[in-house]
């Protein structure tokens, strides 16, 4: 993935309000949001960002785009992403929440065929503290450093970052794959990325109940990841079978154990893989420090 500070960013679904809030945040961070797209608003300019009706018009004007951020309403996100793919954009971050999962299935089939990276939906995106903000992470909670954070949440990720920052532990990068049942990128891909990233010394994996990404990650970490990993799982005390706004879909109908997706199942898998587990966010800095001492 191209995460250079000078990479060129497109803002699909830009509005005056979104430009003022998230656009402004990114700009302050030095992220080059070179154009916005919103059909019908073409020709306007929001905070120095020129707006176009079509992605291809934006590209014709500003040249090639490294990453597009999608902020359109949920039912329009598939089309926006397909428009970006059709224009040759290879990195897509979908901030929008509420995308129907079959739209994601449709999109992933296309993305895989065209080797396009999809992060999200329902994701605050990626932040490389001090360098690059691709999405809606609140940069105020982050400082540069050596801890990589990968999670499924947005605000819970800030919570973890805040604890680390207060303890003087900066972050190399934080990414949320998004809380939906069908996500564009996986824990595994990001763990691999962090493992290969020179700036990252320790990885914090932030999971939550639902799905089985954490179980798969635990297994993958034990087998493949060389850097130390600390895990935290939210939802231990949540009643069973609830959605909590995430994980709209449960895959397991038949043929799977009844406890798949519970926080307990995830914690068991992490313990089995001998990964240190934080009981609460405020414990994470201590566990990170211990892990750093060992290396």
């Amino acid at each position: 993935m191209n995460l250079q500070p000078d990479s060129k960013i497109l803002f699909q679904g830009i509005t005056a309000e979104l430009s003022a809030t998230h656009g402004g945040q990114m700009k302050v961070y030095g992220t080059k949001v070179v154009a916005g797209v919103n059909p019908g608003l073409g020709g306007q300019t929001f905070d120095d960002i020129p707006v176009f009706d079509l992605v291809e018009q934006a590209l014709a004007e500003v040249g090639s785009i490294d990453t597009t951020l999608i902020f359109v309403p949920a039912y329009q996100a598939l089309d926006a992403a397909l428009e970006a793919i059709s224009a040759g954009i290879k990195q897509i971050i979908i901030v929008s929440s509420g995308m129907p999962p079959l739209d994601m299935v449709h999109l992933l089939r296309k993305a895989e065929a065209t080797e396009t990276i999809i992060v999200g939906p329902n994701s605050p995106g990626i932040i490389v503290p001090g360098k690059l903000l691709l999405g809606t992470h609140r940069s105020e909670f982050y400082i540069p450093g050596a801890v990589g954070i990968v999670s499924r949440s947005s605000t819970l990720t800030y919570e973890i970052a805040l604890e680390l920052t207060k303890a003087g532990l900066g972050q190399s990068m934080a990414v949320s794959i998004g809380g939906d049942a069908i996500a564009g990128s996986s824990f595994l891909q990001w763990l691999q990325m962090f493992d290969a990233d020179d700036a990252t010394e320790v990885i914090v994996l932030v999971g939550e109940l639902g799905g089985n990404s954490e179980e798969a990650a635990a297994d993958y970490i034990a087998k493949t990841i060389k850097k130390p990993v600390i895990a935290y799982i939210a939802g231990r005390k949540a009643p069973a079978g609830r959605h909590w706004g995430h994980t709209g879909t449960l895959a397991a109908v038949v043929g799977r154990g009844a406890d798949v997706g519970t926080a307990q199942s995830k914690l068991a898998a992490l313990k089995f893989a001998k990964i240190p587990i934080a009981e609460k966010p405020s414990q994470i800095p201590d566990l990170v420090k211990k892990a750093l001492k060992k290396t």
């Binding site: 039912y75 809380g179 932030v206 939550e208 939802g235 009643p239 709209g248 109908v253 043929g255 609460k280």
Partner: protein, 391 residues
């Protein structure tokens, strides 16, 4: 959203999946106008499983028996659910019973076709027979044939079962389903197929883009008198009826983490409300500050809740605006609600304009705490010290 059997079968019929002649029974009197010849099967229309074992399915041979059976079933709760309607259906003599399903799988991130040559109530006890085909690329009937062949079918059954699976997939895709299941699919001695029971789950996020499904959802919501209003604001979850703490947060992960902390600390949470993070991309839905104000009000109104912990972190609203929403609430509405009960508000906030936010909440005596552990501690302390509620 789960459909009832009769609703699922209506969709099956429209799609061309073979179903038996049947009639919906809303009240006992409907059985007098039955157009299906006896013997007839009377089936409780509930969403829970194990209906057959619980006595919710009965075969009757005449009107008198039918009325007796219906009267019993109308009053028989199945895993706590009492049916509002029954289904009267023709009886079918199946030679064999298969299991078929299409389900969305978050693991492969694809729809998966499932099938077993041993359906009915046996399907879970013979899991090793359950075959899977992942629909990797766009669907084409050959995926359905793969399933049929994996199920061990031969000759004409390959084509006829594949045809049913193909129709199930079309329904699944067209209606944005999480699951469509036929269990059992009856197979007659001559190879004729019949969907004898059906289960359909519509993905909740997609409901609004299907006019027909929206209408069904609306009717169900009216009937079930569900937490409709909560659903507009975000996702509300009842944790424990005997709890006395309410949690409101912006983001599912954050709300769950807060719940874990409060529970670990000995607090008892009744309801969690996630009002979501970020701006609203859809102008027809309430804004963040609306969601915040209305959410707090909903929790405070609950007579069982004595402390409400509001955990807002890095919202699109700056601290002053968050405090404004909450202080307005403190000024305007707290006095009235205070008379009824005595809910305390504890606000946890971190982010820009923290100091101004604290200053703004001071006059209405609502504490604003930056540290999460500290906010949780205070919440639990308050909840324990509050006098017992009178209901």
């Amino acid at each position: 959203m789960d459909l009832l059997e009769y609703q699922a079968k209506e969709w099956f019929r429209e799609t061309g999946i073979p179903v038996l002649p049947s009639q919906r029974i809303d009240k006992i009197g409907d059985l007098k106008g039955l157009k299906i010849p006896y013997p007839v099967v009377i089936k409780s229309q509930v969403r829970t499983g194990g209906r057959g074992r619980a006595g919710g399915v009965r075969i009757v041979t005449n009107t008198i028996d039918a009325i007796a059976a219906a009267q019993t079933i109308f009053h028989l709760p199945i895993l706590g659910e009492v049916p509002e309607v029954l289904l009267a259906e023709a009886k079918y003599n199946a030679d064999r019973e298969f299991y078929l399903a299409v389900v969305l799988d978050s693991n492969t991130r694809r729809p998966v076709l499932l099938g077993s040559p041993q359906g009915g109530i046996d399907v879970e006890s013979s899991e090793e027979l359950l075959q899977q085909v992942v629909v990797e690329r766009e669907f084409s009937p050959f995926y359905a044939r793969k399933l049929s062949v994996k199920m061990g079918l031969k000759g004409a059954l390959i084509g006829s079962v594949s045809d049913v699976v193909e129709k199930m997939y079309r329904l699944f895709w067209q209606k944005d389903l999480d699951l469509v299941e036929i269990n059992p699919l009856g197979v007659s001695a001559t190879g004729e197929l019949m969907a004898l029971d059906g289960k359909v789950t519509v993905n909740s996020r997609a409901i609004a883009r299907h006019a027909d499904i929206s209408l069904m959802a609306q009717k169900m919501a009216n009937r079930a008198n569900s937490q409709n209003y909560f659903d507009i604001l975000g996702n509300a979850d009842l944790v424990d009826r005997s709890g006395n703490i309410g949690i409101l947060g912006n983001g599912a992960g954050l709300v769950m983490a807060t719940l874990d902390l409060v529970t670990d600390g000995g607090g008892k949470v009744k309801t969690c409300l996630n009002i979501g993070h970020g701006s609203n991309l859809d102008p027809t839905k309430p804004s963040f500050s609306d969601r915040l104000e209305q959410g707090v009000e909903l929790l405070v109104r609950d007579k069982n809740i004595q402390v409400v912990l509001v955990n807002i972190l890095g919202s699109v609203l700056k601290g002053v605006k968050v405090a404004e929403s909450i202080s307005k609430f403190g000024e305007d509405r707290m006095p009235k609600t205070r008379n009824a009960a005595y809910p305390r508000l504890i606000v946890r906030f971190a982010g820009s304009e923290l100091d101004s936010a604290q200053a703004q909440l001071a006059p209405v005596a609502i504490p604003l705490i930056e540290n999460l552990d500290e906010a949780v501690l205070q919440t639990i302390r308050q909840a324990k010290s509050s006098p017992a509620k009178k209901l």
